[in-house]
């Protein structure tokens, strides 16, 4: 049996990924998370002195806090198994990756364990988030200077 035949068998036996259902689930759960975020924004605008522009920050913090609770009680991975990208892409997914790593490495102590490993998964999000933000800002600055778009 050569490699080609083997790969054919693997291909045949692999279960099909239900792309459409996965996308629909991701859309629904991601949409629900974002709706909750919008409600929190309204809450902060209505009852605190935040404007539309400044309310985003406490909202992000609140969502991360909720994600932290869900992760700690073990519900977040269940949501993720259902939703996939729908729960990984919003900021709650970022919170989950930080908190899960922190819980995991508690046995190695607070400094080298929790502190050192907390951003094991989220680190790349931060690095590439900052990097892409820099490049997007650079492109926009250039476009504005040329006069194609305005701020």
């Amino acid at each position: 049996m050569d490699q080609k035949q083997f790969e054919d068998i693997v291909e045949k036996q692999n279960p099909k990924t239900p792309m459409f259902t996965n996308m629909l689930k991701a859309f629904l759960v991601g949409g629900i998370i974002c709706t909750i975020g919008q409600l929190i924004i309204f809450f902060y605008i209505r009852f605190f002195s935040f404007t539309e522009r400044t309310a985003a920050n406490p909202t992000a913090a609140t969502l991360v806090f909720i994600a932290m609770l869900l992760t700690g009680f073990g519900y977040y991975k269940k949501i993720s198994q259902f939703a996939g990208a729908g729960s990984a892409v919003p900021i709650t997914g970022f919170g989950n990756s930080v908190v899960s790593a922190a819980i995991e490495h508690k046995t190695e102590g607070y400094v080298l364990g929790v502190g050192g490993n907390m951003f094991k998964l989220a680190g790349s999000v931060i690095v590439f988030g900052v990097l892409s933000a820099f490049f997007v800002a650079l492109i926009k600055t250039i476009l504005v200077k040329i006069g194609v778009v305005s701020w």
Binding site: I45, S49, F50, T51, E52, R53, T54, A55, S150, W151
Partner: protein, 129 residues
């Protein structure tokens, strides 16, 4: 049967309800201002406050035009500045400012208190981050 529920759910989740946008000027004796704001076709609603030295307008921009929000705000601001050269003009699209203006209109402040509340809103709108 299951499909029907999905369709109903989608209607419920994707649909939205909204009030007709309001157009209010306070104090309401300035017809000139109302005229200028009414002829702006890039906004669907506005609420404005005016005292002796400040003109504060909160505008409502349709969702799809929000990408050029800053531009629209600036255009209207320029037009109003031409009309009221000795007043400080602020044009802003922000839910918080709109709600604050609504609150003030409801309370029907006297001119002195009005100035005070306008200052408070200005401080809010200046907040960064």
């Amino acid at each position: 049967m299951k499909n029907k529920w999905i369709v109903i759910l989608l209607f419920l989740t994707l649909g939205a309800c909204s009030d007709a946008p309001e157009r209010v000027v306070y104090p309401s004796d300035d017809l000139e201002l109302e005229k200028i704001l009414d002829k702006q076709d890039s906004i669907i609603g506005y609420k404005s406050l005016m005292d002796n030295n400040t003109l504060l307008v909160s505008i409502e921009i349709p969702t799809m035009k929000r990408f050029s929000k800053v531009k629209i705000e600036e255009n209207i601001k320029k037009e109003l500045e031409n009309e009221y050269p000795n007043k400080k003009v602020i044009v802003i699209d922000d839910l918080k400012i709109k709600w604050e203006i609504e609150k003030i209109i409801e309370k029907e402040h006297e001119s002195k208190e009005l100035t005070k509340s306008i200052e408070k809103i200005l401080a809010l709108s200046k907040e960064e981050t």
